[in-house]
């Protein structure tokens, strides 16, 4: 368990597939998410069965996001891109929309960044975000991410092409105090 100010990150459990399945079928949530096809509950369960039956590795560290009361509100993780370069990609979904705009996602991102640098010994954490996801971009900036590019018309979603914003944080930009509930 990794403890933050508003949230904790814990290992994913098989039963998390129920909530995750609901979120991935919620159009309000997936508006900001690359998911585009409908997934069955059986598929999601099989996916979770596989993901939770092996341990976390540096190649893929994924977590459930919980409130301090233990309510599962989302998922997040880091996927290693190159071991030699120590670069990884961050992904996050706050699926419970009643926790949007309240700092829960930002707190989870800060914890994940801390885990990436302090535990996985990463050098660089990057992410890609749809350009219309202003809330996401603001949150990542708050957590210390810097804009470094814009992939033009790189995604097609809901009938139109849009740009993807690339953001990253480097180890020497990371503020160790930020993820420890000192904010």
């Amino acid at each position: 368990m990794i403890e933050g100010t508003l949230v904790n990150l814990r290992q994913r459990e098989l039963t998390d597939h129920l909530r995750t399945h609901a979120w991935l079928n919620d159009r309000e949530v997936t508006r900001f998410h690359p998911t585009r096809y409908a997934y069955s509950l059986a598929y999601e369960e099989a996916h979770y069965r596989l993901a939770t039956s092996s341990g976390q590795t540096r190649e893929r560290a994924s977590f459930a996001i919980e409130t301090k009361e233990g309510l599962h509100i989302g998922n997040c993780g880091l996927t290693l891109q190159y071991a030699e370069s120590g670069s990884a990609e961050l992904g996050i979904m706050v699926g419970d929309t009643s926790y949007w705009n309240r700092g829960y996602g930002t707190d989870a991102v800060r914890l994940l960044v801390r885990f990436g640098f302090e535990t996985m010994n990463l050098h660089r954490i990057a992410l890609a975000v749809y350009d219309f996801n202003a809330r996401g971009i603001a949150s990542y900036r708050k957590a210390g991410f810097v804009d470094e590019g814009r992939r033009r018309q790189a995604f097609y979603h809901r009938g139109c092409y849009g740009d993807t914003v690339i953001m990253s944080i480097l180890r020497d930009e990371y503020d160790p105090g930020a993820g420890r509930g000192m904010a």
Binding site: S85, G86, R124, R151, A154
Partner: protein, 179 residues
Amino acid sequence: MIEGEIVNLRAPERDDLDRLWTWINDPEVIEHLSMRYPMSREAERAWVEMQTAGPLRFFDVRFAIETKDGAQIGSIAFHRVVAEQRSATLGIMIGDKAHWSRGYGADAIRTLLRFAFDQMNLRRVDLSVDADNARGIACYTKVGFTLEGRLRQARYQRGRYEDLLVMSILRDEFEAAAG
């Protein structure tokens, strides 16, 4: 066979093995490529077997680059094709160093872009390139690629972290450049 101005693109063949194996063990050739470990002939053979076992198709586009007299000088491929976005990521190697800096790479890329836009119906092709790979950047710029981002310290090589540049070309930009 897809014909360019000074190169042709053809399907990879098993007989390409020895050339590929030599090239990808040449430090100068792989300086700006993602591979960095020595490759055994058996490992390279397995790779070539896999690459030549199935037909080229939308998600598996890879070609040997030949001069007009039929000598293979390199390879070019799309590493990742996303159907919904109609986008792909390009990778190229000119393994035969005698053909560097002479326009062969640029012609191979233009030929593949023409194929990508006219036959595959893609609308975006992107790539990433080491920030210190001046020859590569000049080539991509000449072909019409636009710089759209700098992935800071994304690549560790030769004892230090280095930036990667992201470049892309959209279909209408290619059409405009080709006239």
